[in-house]
Symmetry: C2
Subunit: 690 residues, 2 copies
C-alpha cells in the first residue's frame, strides 16, 4: 500500500515489504494494546512468524517448560522424590531445546542487529551455554566417580526474568535496582548511627560490671554491642537486651528508648519512605515510556489506515476500515459492542487523537448484558410464567433469601466447629449440602444460566465448584466408609477444607467486604509479579543453600529412637535452642524444606515488605464508596453494557491508570515528529535502556 | 474607618467598633500567617485582650503549667520522689487556677455564643470541674482514713488537646477518628479470615494427636487456636507454632504459609493502605479548609486597606500602607527584605490576588546574607590583610581543611573506643579538645562571627556547644580527680556522652547525609505533634495502669537477699518466664516504670506505626538531589537573599506545601462572594465541624 511504504520508511530498521495495510495496522493496535515492544520487519513472512511468536499457545508452552525446568529441583539430588540423573538430565535437555527454539524464533522476527544489542537475549544465550557446559562437566565428573556440583541450577530462575514475556518482572527488578543508590546512603547513615550508639553504650555501660541473665559480662565488647543493638532494631531481643542496664538505673532506659526511637522508628521510616518514593518515581517514568510507545504504535496504525476526508481537512479513518480493524484485533467483540466503541470515539472526532484511544478502550472490559430469555421460558412458557413459578422467582430474588442463606452458613459454621463424631452432626452435613445444592438450582431456575455462569461472576463459579466438589468428596468418603469401614484421611481433609471454604461465601453478602475483596482481586496481577520476583530470589537462595548446607541438619521422625535425634544429627547443635525447640526440620535438605525455611526467615524479618502494596492500593480507598459499575450512555436500547472498570486486563493498564493523574499531558504526546519515532525509548525500552 | 465598617458588617457576629484600620489589618494578616481561627470582636478593648491572648509569653506560661500539672505524677502516690499530698494538691490548684484564668481570658475575647458552642471550651470546663470534685473527694476520704483513687489524673493530658494552641494535636486525633470506620471494616474481614483459618486448622490438625514442645495437645481447642493464629500475625510465635504440624507433614507448612501470606502480608498491607489513604484524605480536606480560611482573612485585610487607584479600576493597596502593615506584622524584617517581598508581589499585580499571597510569603524564611566585613578587618586591617593572614584564611576555607578534621574525628573515634585507663589515651583527650577548639577559633577568624553564629547555622552551634561543654566537663573532672582522687561517675558519663556526640559532626561533611539530616530536621515539628499524641495516650494508660497494678510486681536490688526476689515479690509469678528473664522492673509502680513498660509494649507490637511518616516525607526524595538554596532574583546588589525553602516556620505551612499539587485552584479560592464569608468553615474549623 501507499501508506505502508511511508510507515515502513519511518521505521528505519525494518525494510519495507508487501503486506495488507489492515493486517499491519491490526498488529500495531494489538501491540499497543498489550504493550509489546518488539520491532519486526514488515515483510509477510516475518509478520506470519511474529503472529506465531505472540500466539498464546506458544507462550503457555514456554511457561510450561520454564515450570518443568524449575521443578526439576524436586527430583535432583538432594531430592524430594529421587529420580535417576539421566532422567532429569534428559528432561533438562528437552527444556533447553525448547528455549533455544523460542530464541531462534525471536531472532528470525526482529532485525539481526537489534537481536544482538538486546541484553536479555545475550543473557538467555549465556544461561543456555553455561547450563550445557555444566551438564557435560557434571556428567563427566560423576561418571568418573568424582564429586560434582550442579552450579548452573542457580541460573534457572533467571530465564523467567529474561524471556520476552517477563516484562513486568524486569520492570520490578529495574525499579528495585534504581532505588538502591538512595537506599545505600540511608543505610550508611543508619550504620553510622548504630556505631555511634554502640560506642556510647560501651563507654556508659562497659565499666559498670553488669552481668547478663546468663551471668556473662554485659556490654563490654564493642563488636558484640554493635550486634546486639543491630538486632534490637528488629526488636527481636527487646526488652532482654536493656534489662541489665535498666535494672541498674532507670536513666539507662532513656538511652535505649532514644536508640529505638532513632533507629527503629525514624530510620526504618526513612528507609520505607525512600524505597516507596524512588520505586514510585521510577515506575512512573517507566509507565510514561510505556504510554509514549503505545501512542507511537497507534499513530503508526493510523498512518496506515488514514484517508483524506476532504481537501485540506484532517486525515481520518473511515468507520468501514475501523470496523474491519477492530474485527481483526478482537474477533470476540460483538457488533453492538463495536458500535459502542465507535460512538465513544466518534463523539470527539474521527481524527488521530480519537483513534489513538482505541488501544486503551480495548483494554476496558465491557460486559455485554444481554437480556436473553430463560431457556425454560422458551421450552415451556406456560409453566415458567405460572403464578407459583412467578412467586418462587420473586422469593429467590428477594433480599430475605440472601439473609436466610447467610444464617444457614452461620449455623453450618457452628456445626463444623462441633465434634463430627457425633452422628447427628455427621448427618447434618448432608442437610447442608442439600440446602446449598438447592440454592444453586433455584438460582439457575431464576437467572439465565449463561448469565449466571458468565466470566465475571466470580462468586457463582466459586459457589458451584465448592458445593459440587464437596458433594463428590463427601459421597466418595461415605462410600469408602460404608464399604470397607476404611476412611482415607486425605479425602476427609479435602472434605473438611471444602466445608470451611464454603463459609467464605458469607463475605459476598456485605457490600463493604465485597468491595475490599474485589480490590484485592483487582490488584492480584500486580501481586503475582511480586510473587514471581520472590520465587526467583528464593529459588536462587534455595539452590545455593542446598549445595552448602544439605544434610548438615537432619530430621528424625517422631517414633525414631536414634540418639542423634536430640541434636538434629549434628553434634554442633547439641544443647542449643535450635535443637531444644525441635527445629530440625528447618533445613536445606531438599527444595521444599529450603522454601519453607526461607519463608520463615522472611517472616521473622518482615519489616520492609509493605511499601509496594500501599502504592498499588492507593486508588482503592477512593473507590470503596462508589458502586461497582457505571452504565455507559449511548447504546442501542435492546442491549445493556457494563464497564467492568474495576478490572484491568493487564498489569500495564492498571499501572497506567494509577499514574494517570500524575502524568503530564506532554508526556502522553506520541512525539508526532516523524524523525523522533525511532527514538531509543521505543526499541525495547524494557531492557535496552538499562 | 470606612472600610472597617464594611468588614465588620460582613463579620456578622462581631459588632463594629472603633479601631485603627492598619492595626486590624495587621491582626488579620498575623492570624492568616499562623492559621489562627479565633473570631474576636473588633472593639479596641477586645483587640487589646486578643493581642495579649496571642502573646508568646502567655502561651509559654500556659504550656509550662500544663507541663507542671502533668509532671505531678512523679510526686504523687505511687511516686518516684514522694511529696506530701498537700504540696502536690496545692500545685495542682495553682495549675487549675491558671487554666481557668486562660479560659476566662478566651471567653472575654470571643463572642459569648461562640464560646459556649465550642466543644473544646466545654471540655476544659468539664475537666477543671471534675478535677476539683475529685480533689475534694480524695481529700475528704483520705482525711477520714478511707482508700481513695485520684481518677481525674486521667483527664490531665486531655488539656493538652483542648487548649487553643493544640490545633495540630486535635487535627491528628480527628484524622485518626475519621479513619476508624474504614479500618473497622478491614478489621472485621481480618477477624473473619482468622476465624475461618482457625476452624480449618482445628479440622485438619485437631484429630491427629500432635503434641506441642511442652507435651500438651496441639490445636485441639478452637479458642486457643484463634489466639495462637492471632499471635502468629505479629510473627511473635513463628515458627514455633507451626513446628509440630510441619514435623508431622510438610503439607501443613503450606497451610501456615498461606495463612501468613493472607493475614500478615495482605491484610496488614490493606490496613496500612487504608489508614494511609484515609488519613491523607482527611488531612487534605483539613488543609483545604485551612487555606480557605487563610485567604478569607487576607481578603478581609485587603478590604480594610484597599484604595481606588483610578476610577473604574481594580482596588489596590499602596506600597506605603503595605510597608506599614508588614512593619507592624513582622517588625524584625529588614527594609531590603521588605522591598524584596514587595517586588515579588509587584511583579504580578498590586491587586487582591497578589496581596493574598503575603501570608504565605511571610512564612518563607528568608535569610539575609549581609556581606559584613570581619570585625578584625575594621580593628587592625593591616594585620588581617597581611600575606600570612590571607594564606591562613585560604587554608581554612580549603576543602582539605574539612577533610583533615574529618580524619581527626575518625582517629578520635578509635581513641574513644580504646581503653581510657591507658594514660596515653587519657591524655590524648586534651589534644583532641585543643584541636577542636582551634578549629572553632580558626573559623571565627575567617568567617564573620555574627554570620557564623546565625540562627540557621545548626552545625556551628552544635560544634561550639559540644566542644565548650566537653572542655568544661573535662576540666571539672580532672580537677576533682587531682584534688581528692575522687571521680564523679555522673560527670564522667557526661564527658563520655559529649565525646561521642562530637563524632556526629562528620555527617555534615557528606552532602547526601546532610540532606537526609536536614529533611529529618524539617519534618521535626510534624513528628513533635505525633510525639505529643503519644504522650497523651501513654499518660492515660500509665495512670490507669498505676491505679490497677501498682506494687503487684516488685523490683529488688541486685544485692537484695529477699527470697521474694526470685518471683518479683508476687507468688503468682513463681517459675514464670517473666521472673526467669528478670523482668521485675517492668511494672506500673511509678510513672517512669509505666512509661518504659508502655514503650516496650509498643516496640514489640510495632507493625502499624510507619505510615504517617511516609506521608510527611513524600517530598523528601525529590529534594535529595537539588542544592540547599535558591538565589532570589530582583534584589539590590549590596545584599544577597537566601530562601531557606527547606524549613517551614509552622507545621501548617509544611502541610500546605505537601498538598499544594493536590489542591484544586477552586479550593484555594477565598469565596470572594461577601455573603459566603461567614461560612461555617471559617468559625473555628478545628473543632466545631466535628
Amino acid at each position: 500500500g501507499t501508506h505502508l511504504a511511508r510507515v515502513v520508511a519511518l521505521h528505519i530498521k525494518c525494510p519495507p515489504g508487501v503486506l495488507q495495510d489492515l493486517e499491519l495496522a491490526a498488529i500495531f493496535v494489538s501491540d499497543a494494546q498489550y504493550n509489546r515492544n518488539i520491532c519486526f520487519e514488515a515483510s509477510p513472512a516475518v509478520v506470519r512468524l511474529y503472529l506465531l511468536y505472540n500466539h498464546w499457545v506458544a507462550k503457555v508452552l514456554l511457561y510450561l517448560f520454564i515450570l518443568v525446568n524449575l521443578s526439576l529441583a524436586f527430583f535432583e539430588e538432594p531430592a524430594v522424590v529421587a529420580l535417576p540423573t539421566w532422567a532429569t538430565m534428559l528432561v533438562e535437555l528437552l527444556c533447553l531445546l525448547v528455549f533455544t527454539l523460542r530464541l531462534v524464533h525471536y531472532a528470525r522476527v526482529i532485525p539481526r542487529d537489534k537481536f544482538w544489542k538486546d541484553p536479555k537475549n545475550i543473557c538467555i544465550i549465556v544461561i543456555l551455554l553455561l547450563t550445557l557446559v555444566d551438564m557435560m562437566v557434571y556428567g563427566a565428573l560423576t561418571a568418573s566417580g568424582c564429586k560434582a556440583v550442579r552450579w548452573s541450577r542457580v541460573l534457572r530462575p533467571l530465564l523467567l526474568v529474561n524471556v520476552t514475556e517477563g516484562r513486568q518482572l524486569r520492570r520490578a527488578f529495574r525499579s528495585i535496582r534504581n532505588a538502591l543508590p538512595q537506599i545505600f546512603y540511608v543505610f550508611l547513615l543508619f550504620i553510622f548511627s548504630l556505631l555511634i550508639f554502640s560506642l556510647m553504650a560501651l563507654k556508659l555501660l562497659g565499666k559498670r560490671d553488669l552481668k547478663t541473665l546468663e551471668g556473662e559480662p554485659y556490654f563490654t565488647n564493642y563488636l558484640s554491642i554493635v550486634f546486639d543493638l543491630y538486632v534490637l532494631v528488629t526488636t527481636a531481643n527487646s526488652p532482654d537486651v536493656m534489662m541489665p542496664a535498666y535494672n541498674f538505673s532507670f536513666v539507662f532506659a532513656i538511652f535505649f528508648i532514644v536508640y529505638i526511637l532513632v533507629n527503629t522508628y525514624i530510620f526504618m521510616s526513612v528507609f520505607l519512605a525512600v524505597v516507596y518514593n524512588t520505586y514510585k518515581k521510577h515506575l512512573k517514568e517507566e509507565v510514561r515510556q510505556l504510554v509514549r510507545a503505545k501512542r507511537q504504535k497507534m499513530s503508526r496504525a493510523f498512518l496506515v489506515l488514514q484517508e483524506q476526508a476532504q481537501e485540506g481537512g484532517e486525515p481520518v479513518v473511515t468507520q468501514a476500515s475501523w470496523n474491519q480493524l477492530v474485527r481483526m484485533v478482537r474477533p470476540d467483540i460483538s457488533d453492538p459492542h463495536r458500535l459502542l466503541l465507535w460512538s465513544v470515539l466518534d463523539s470527539s472526532s474521527q481524527g488521530k487523537a480519537a483513534f489513538v484511544q482505541l488501544a486503551d478502550l480495548l483494554n476496558i472490559e465491557v460486559i455485554t448484558l444481554k437480556s436473553r430469555p430463560h431457556p425454560l421460558q422458551s421450552l415451556c412458557p406456560a409453566l415458567y410464567q405460572s403464578a407459583p413459578s412467578r412467586l418462587l422467582r420473586r422469593l429467590v430474588q428477594h433480599r430475605a433469601f440472601v439473609v436466610l442463606y447467610d444464617l444457614i452458613i452461620l449455623v453450618n459454621a457452628v456445626f463444623i466447629g462441633l465434634d463430627e463424631d457425633n452422628p447427628l452432626i455427621a448427618h447434618s452435613e448432608w442437610v447442608f449440602l442439600a440446602l446449598y445444592l438447592l440454592e444453586i438450582l433455584l438460582k439457575l431456575y431464576v437467572f439465565e444460566p449463561r448469565a449466571f455462569f458468565s466470566r465475571h461472576s466470580f462468586w457463582n463459579w466459586f459457589d458451584t465448584i465448592i458445593v459440587v466438589s464437596a458433594l463428590v468428596a463427601t459421597v466418595v468418603n461415605s462410600a469408602l466408609q460404608s464399604s470397607g469401614g476404611y476412611t482415607s484421611r486425605q479425602i476427609l481433609d479435602i472434605v473438611f477444607i471444602l466445608r470451611v471454604l464454603r463459609l467464605i461465601r458469607v463475605v459476598d453478602s456485605i457490600k463493604r467486604f465485597r468491595t475490599i475483596i474485589n480490590t484485592l482481586i483487582r490488584i492480584g496481577p500486580a501481586i503475582l509479579t511480586f510473587g514471581q520476583l520472590i520465587i526467583v530470589v528464593y529459588y536462587v537462595f534455595a539452590v545455593v543453600g542446598m549445595e552448602l548446607f544439605k544434610d548438615k541438619v537432619r530430621f528424625f521422625e517422631a517414633d525414631s529412637s536414634d540418639p542423634a535425634k536430640a541434636y538434629c544429627g549434628n553434634a554442633l547443635l547439641r544443647g542449643t535452642a535450635f535443637a531444644h525447640f525441635n527445629y530440625c526440620k528447618n533445613n536445606f535438605n531438599n527444595i521444599v524444606s529450603s522454601f519453607v525455611l526461607l519463608v520463615e526467615l522472611t517472616v521473622v524479618n518482615q519489616e520492609e515488605m509493605d511499601g509496594g502494596l500501599v502504592n498499588a492500593m492507593e486508588t482503592m480507598d477512593n473507590e470503596l464508596g462508589s458502586g461497582p459499575s457505571d452504565g455507559a450512555g449511548p447504546a442501542p436500547p435492546h442491549l445493556m453494557f457494563k464497564i467492568a472498570s474495576k478490572r484491568y486486563r493487564t498489569v500495564d493498564a492498571l499501572l497506567q491508570r494509577m499514574f494517570e493523574s500524575d502524568l503530564d499531558p506532554e508526556d502522553l504526546d506520541e512525539s508526532s515528529d516523524p524523525e523522533a519515532q525511532s527514538s531509543p525509548s521505543f526499541s525495547n525500552p524494557s531492557f535496552s535502556s538499562a
